[in-house]
């Protein structure tokens, strides 16, 4: 990556949260707590980028990074117009500096790792390269079904963002150098722009930590409970780690941005339940739409969220929330479908519908023990068993014991975990292989929202005995 490219990427890393904050301010739904604002702002910026890039694709099949950049820059005036509503950023002191500098150094260390993982290259990377090189989805990769390429049924949100990052990053290799390359290393160096997305994806992890950290700080946790804060903040990072530590996945996949978007969806949906407003409804719609453009798995999360809202929310508030989720999902589906009309689907992609129709009680009974056995194996191997047990033993019972938003969040997490497990009974693939490779990712999609609930549960658990009752009220949402 060139020095200019690095500088441009740093600017983009500032532009995405800044534009998102501008959007939040324009919609009058910016959280007062600075960390929460930064996390939600980054998610909103990501949503704006994904939706604008998908819009261009849906219109004429073209990849238009200029449109994406224009939308982000166009949201910046929101920062100025509503500058009085901006949260006050505290000056970091003591432990705050240690956390901030430590986070930067860790991010730099992680980001220095190369792009790894099958999905990053074979599913997202190659699509991003094609978008960048061909400028549209009308090229051979998307239109010729015999080209070696997998999951043509996936939405293109992540490849579009990767290609945008690659467009800004540029390359060290010239066309002459590429033409002269006779080995894979020099050929790859001339065409590796999209790999700059790996360090850029650190932004999604930091935003996830900020969202959960903001939820903790909003509950008034300050210095005396700093140790607890540190421990709980490690949780979302821990959930993201299998994506970075080379355990099948990588940061250059769709799961991290999807976890961020779903966490933001859960946060905004809960706020909307407490205090409905058109701005929050619109923000929820945009976040849901963007999540669908990132990965089809968003539908599973929306099904769980919809069911949780219907079962756990008060009737007065749930209509607008369910409506926003539904409209957002439809907007995303419309963009994905419109963009997909230019390409061809491969017959090698997973065929779910025939598999579901072919399932019988006997086949489900045969598969059930295998699913449970391999779920335990893979969750344990990928370091996700502990967060899952924490979620099941601490967060979900805590949430179910309370009425209102906490119960909705607990139901969402519970239904998502159960629903995803049951889904594998109908898998069109060899079920043990499928559970091993896909179940932890699907579970992790609920862990971001679950971390919000877990933080709530732990803060309540660790409150000083003298302040156990009455339960302090949350500050009114904005």
């Amino acid at each position: 990556m060139t020095a200019t490219g690095t500088l441009l990427l740093l600017l983009l890393a500032v532009l995405v949260p800044a534009a998102g904050l501008g959007l939040l301010l324009l919609l009058r739904c910016c959280p007062r707590e600075p960390w929460a604002a930064l996390g939600l702002g980054t998610a909103a910026g990501l949503a704006a980028l994904c939706l604008s890039l998908s819009l261009s694709l849906a219109w004429d099949g073209s990849f238009s990074p200029v449109l994406g950049m224009s939308v982000l820059v166009g949201l910046l005036p929101g920062l100025w117009l509503a500058r009085t509503s901006l949260p006050r950023w505290p000056r970091p002191r003591g432990l705050g500096w240690v956390l901030l500098l430590g986070a930067l150094l860790l991010a730099q260390t992680v980001a220095s790792a190369p792009m790894r993982g099958y999905d990053a290259k074979a599913i997202y990377g190659i699509k991003a390269k094609a978008l960048l090189h061909e400028g549209s989805v009308r090229g051979p990769l998307f239109t010729q079904r015999d080209v070696v390429h997998y999951h043509s049924d996936y939405p293109l949100g992540v490849p579009l963002v990767m290609a945008t990052v690659g467009w800004l990053a540029g390359t060290d290799g010239s066309p002459e150098r590429a033409a002269a390359a006779t080995d894979g290393v020099s050929w790859s160096a001339a065409h590796d722009q999209v790999e700059a997305y790996v360090p850029f994806a650190v932004l999604w992890v930091l935003a996830l930590v900020a969202l959960v950290g903001g939820a903790i700080r909003r509950r008034g946790v300050t210095h005396p409970a700093a140790l607890l804060l540190l421990l709980v903040m490690a949780l979302p990072t821990a959930l993201a780690m299998p994506f970075a530590a080379g355990r099948s996945w990588t940061w250059a996949g769709a799961d991290l941005p999807l976890i961020l978007l779903l966490t933001a969806v859960a946060q905004v949906a809960l706020t909307l339940l407490r205090a409905p407003s058109p701005g929050r409804g619109l923000l929820l719609l945009l976040l849901c739409g963007a999540a669908v453009t990132v990965k089809n798995d968003a539908w599973l999360a929306f099904l769980s969220l919809g069911a949780a809202l219907l079962l756990g929310a008060l009737p007065r508030a749930r209509l607008v929330t369910v409506g926003s989720v539904l409209l957002g999902a439809l907007l995303g589906a419309l963009l994905v479908k419109a963009g997909g009309r230019f390409g061809v689907g491969a017959p090698f992609d997973e065929q779910w519908l025939p598999a579901v129709l072919a399932a019988t009680p006997a086949s489900l009974a045969l598969r059930a023990p295998l699913v449970l056995e391999w779920a335990g194996n893979t969750l344990s191997q990928r370091g996700l068993l502990l967060p899952l047990l924490g979620m099941a033993a601490l967060a979900v019972p805590f949430g179910l014991a309370h009425r209102g938003p906490r119960r909705v969040l607990a139901l969402f997490v519970w239904l998502h975990l159960l629903g995803c497990t049951a889904l594998f009974l109908f898998s069109p693939n060899v079920v043990t292989w499928h559970v091993d490779t896909a179940l932890p990712r699907l579970f992790a999609h609920a862990f971001g929202p679950g971390a919000l609930l877990l933080a709530d549960a732990l803060i309540t658990l660790w409150r000083r005995p003298s302040t156990l009752s009455p339960v302090p009220q949350l500050p009114p949402p904005r």
């Binding site: 020095a3 015999d146 894979g184 140790l227 033993a393």
Partner: protein
Amino acid sequence: MTAPQPLRPQPVSLPVAILATLLALDLMLLALLWTGGPSGWSLGPVRLLPGYVESAVPLALVLGLLCWGARVGRPRLAELTRTQLLTRWRGAGPVRRLALMASVILGLGAVDEALQAPKAALRIRLTQAAQPQPSLTYNRDNRHVPELLAALLQQSPRGDAVVLVDDDDARAHEAAYYAYPLLLYMAPEQRAWSLRARMDHLGAPDPTLAPTAPAPAMHLSEAFADERGMRLLHVSRGDVISLGATRP
């Protein structure tokens, strides 16, 4: 009326000073290294590679924090344990104590897991520091990738090709990523079989699905390449064992 107090500089704590110094050093060295590109920067007889810097700084950070933790952090941690943890523990019933213990285990486990990626990243940088494009070396089961790429790039005239891979992972997907903008094609039968065959590597068959069929015959791939006027690259166990001629 009291005299105004003279302004005194705020004390800077040791960990902040260590971290700030390391971060500044890190950024300075990285900025210097950018001028040298991926091959590094010459310092007399010593060659400074980006990987060495990116590995050394976090290592120094960890050492610095450990020293600080031993000197300053331990008494503070003891104080925090006494004032915060024990107060809550003593005031809790059995169920609450169980929940408190579970939350501590969960927190410590989360910290441990959160450190996995930095540890893995550090290990990679230490072992791969001299390689300018290490991403190419992380192909897991795809041992064929470098060989296949080399064969593809050395053919004349350079162009797209049909591939047939007999490897641990026969899909050639990662090779397709690295080969792009050159395109790899695969005969539909071979491709469908390779996608199913990869699911058998765990050795746990699905009781509800038929076993994987034998690999399609090679002549199907040859006919497919003929039909498209492309070369057929046949790779087995990481070696290119045949390179068919281009058919007009």
